[in-house]
């Protein structure tokens, strides 16, 4: 899809690239663990944000529907897992059962949000989705009475980690002489899911459905005149996007072992949207880049800004959190000014008919 080098002339280069990337990704957690286990956790959360950003990219990037309440689907996935695999209701379903249920329920919520908003576009849609996100969060906050479903603001604790038979993702163990800590195990799990998510997204984009989404984004009236049922296509965009959010939420729930409504505020929705816009709306590699950058950058600031101030002035003047927001704002403004299509925007997809054109 993107030409760093001409892969048509050198197909073997593709395989060299794949091997290099695969080796780097395989070795990565151990290298990071050398610096500190925190960095493995940060990487894991970066991958979760990639899931979210790719899911939102279907709605915003492909179908062009501005969604400011996307984090609600993350919340739905997280709470689905939390309720079905914790002592709260004393239900302990295995993760490979809950994961699809989480995706399914989030998908359902996606359609639920999509249905009443079909006729809205742009700003109006943004406001309704924003409201929807808040409604879900407020529901989670208050569904502790009269029947205690979500345990209110205290959240749900002691959520089961992932387990396959005797293999527990949380505990450390030594395999072939390597020290596999909990976060490292989750890293490999996330990596596998990530590959699947990327493949699904690429395939969706290059399909009849993906083209229909892009048609709706480009010109809804023309899309309808070409026979595209825009209602179904938009509902599918919401549902597909939401199900990725649901999967991410369920995994978040299991890795944190704790969920509370606090994690699903408006700011999170905006961060995920920023990842999509900054990276390059509708362009899968760009969106991945945006998600990784926006997760790693604040952490880097956290680890550098306070020690830097200590070294320079002997005390901390400005909290890293404040610098984070400042840098975040400046970055957004700069990107919008100098690269309005994002850091890594999509190029026109080139297609060559293998059999040659009919002349």
């Amino acid at each position: 899809m993107h030409a760093f080098f001409d892969t048509r002339k050198h197909p073997e280069l593709v395989w060299v690239g794949i091997v290099v990337v695969a080796m780097t990704l395989t070795a990565l957690p151990f290298a990071l663990a050398g610096v500190g286990t925190a960095w493995v956790r940060i990487t894991n959360s970066a991958i979760l944000y990639v899931f979210l950003a790719l899911g939102l990219n279907i709605v915003v990037g492909f179908a062009g529907l501005l969604d400011l309440g996307y984090i609600a689907f993350y919340a739905v996935g997280a709470y689905t897992y939390a309720l079905l695999a914790s002592p709260h209701f004393n239900i302990h379903l295995p993760f490979w059962v809950v994961l699809p249920i989480g995706a399914g329920i989030a998908c359902l919520f996606g359609a639920l949000l999509g249905a009443p908003t079909l006729k809205l576009r742009g700003d109006y849609l943004a406001i309704v989705t924003l409201g929807f996100g808040e409604i879900i969060r407020i529901f989670l906050n208050n569904l502790s009475q009269p029947v205690n479903i979500t345990n209110g603001p205290q959240g749900i604790t002691l959520i089961d980690p992932f387990r396959i038979g005797g293999f527990n993702f949380k505990t450390s163990q030594t395999i072939v002489g390597l020290d596999f800590t909990g976060p490292i195990k989750y890293y490999y799990f996330l990596l596998i899911v990530l590959i699947a998510v990327i493949v699904i997204n690429l395939r969706l984009q290059n399909s009849r459905l993906g083209r229909a989404w892009e048609a709706v984004r480009e010109d809804e009236i023309a899309a309808r005149a070409m026979g595209i049922n825009t209602r179904n296509v938009k509902l599918l965009a919401f549902a597909m996007g939401a199900s990725f959010g649901g999967v991410a939420g369920a995994i978040f729930s299991a890795t944190q072992q704790f969920v509370s409504p606090e994690s699903f505020g408006l700011f999170e929705s905006i961060i995920v949207l920023a990842m999509v816009v900054l990276g390059g709306m509708g362009h899968i590699p760009g969106v991945i880049l945006g998600a990784v950058l926006l997760t790693l950058l604040p952490e880097l600031l956290r680890y550098t800004m306070e020690p830097l101030q200590h070294a320079l002035f002997g005390r901390v003047f400005i909290d890293a959190e404040i610098i984070r927001l400042l840098v975040f704002g400046i970055a957004l403004v700069a990107i919008m000014l100098y690269r309005p299509a994002g850091l890594w925007p999509s190029a026109v997809r080139k297609r060559e008919l293998e059999t040659g054109t009919t002349k």
Binding site: L204, S207, R208, L209, E218, R224, G227, I228
Partner: protein
């Protein structure tokens, strides 16, 4: 219902507030015809198109298309029934390639869904290959195959008009409705367009043509309908319509007598 007529409009009316955009317009388009629709600016031509293709609901009257009524259908259902259109102010999918534009036109005649897209089974792959092949053929047919991979918005104006026709043809229409396809074209381009329209008709698609280029209309249309202020004022062959006093009056302003002597 004779086998000859493809589309019959019966007293179609459309109001916008107090403005009668269309009042009780009747006409019949026959199979294999190139049927012209002309009239001064604001006569209701594009409104008629929008009512026909389901973008507006008619306030009165019915369309009968290919033996069945078209009432209250959504634009996508109209396209599915076999009426494809272009737009007066070109509405391509600007940021997609020319080829993808035409591929989107195939949407309504293909079937792959979410699971087909994700699993890429044999049937889906075959369908995708067929869509792409057909899209190339259509680009070649209208003469923009060389620009297949260019973004639609980077195409020359005339090419954009032809691409819109290719996209409409991709839906396999029985009736192709063109809204001012020659607008902004130079004489050579208009000649190429005329040849294209004749080819499309020869290959079995009926054409409904709104056009301001009278030379093109008179050359290519079998019959012409003239609208003025939302009313049908004439219908007939090009030469008949051309000499109709009502049509001349509509275009040049009727009943005007300049009294220069008295001044």
């Amino acid at each position: 219902m004779t086998a000859l007529s493809l589309l019959t409009a019966t007293s179609i009316s459309k109001r916008f507030g107090g403005v009668h955009a269309l009042s009780e317009v009747d006409f019949t388009i026959n199979h294999g015809e190139i049927y012209g629709l002309i009239g001064p600016n604001g006569a209701g031509k594009t409104s008629l198109f929008n009512v026909l293709t389901g973008i507006y609901d008619a306030d009165g009257g019915t369309f009968n298309f290919d033996g069945e009524p078209l009432d209250r259908l959504k634009p996508n259902q109209v396209a599915e029934r076999g009426i494809a259109r272009t737009f007066q102010n070109i509405r391509l999918f600007q940021n997609l390639s020319a080829l993808e534009n035409v591929m989107i036109g195939r949407h309504v005649r293909t079937h792959a869904g979410v699971f087909g897209a994700i699993l890429r089974d044999k049937a889906t792959l075959a369908e995708e290959a067929a869509i792409e092949k057909r899209a190339y053929e259509l680009l070649d047919y209208v003469g923009v195959a060389k620009r297949a991979n260019a973004q639609a918005r980077h195409l020359a104006y005339g090419d954009q008009r032809r691409l819109e026709i290719a996209r409409a043809l991709a839906t396999e229409p029985k009736l192709l409705a063109l809204d001012e396809p020659a607008a902004g074209m130079n004489a050579t381009e208009t000649q190429t367009l005329k040849a294209l329209l004749e080819n499309i008709r020869r290959d079995g698609t009926t054409i409904l043509l709104i056009e301001h280029d009278m030379k093109l209309v008179m050359n290519v249309c079998d019959r012409v309908l003239v609208l003025d202020y939302g009313k049908k004022i004439a219908e007939g062959s090009a030469s008949e319509v051309q000499n109709d006093p009502k049509v001349i009056a509509a275009y040049l302003g009727g009943e005007v007598s300049l009294n220069l002597k008295g001044a």
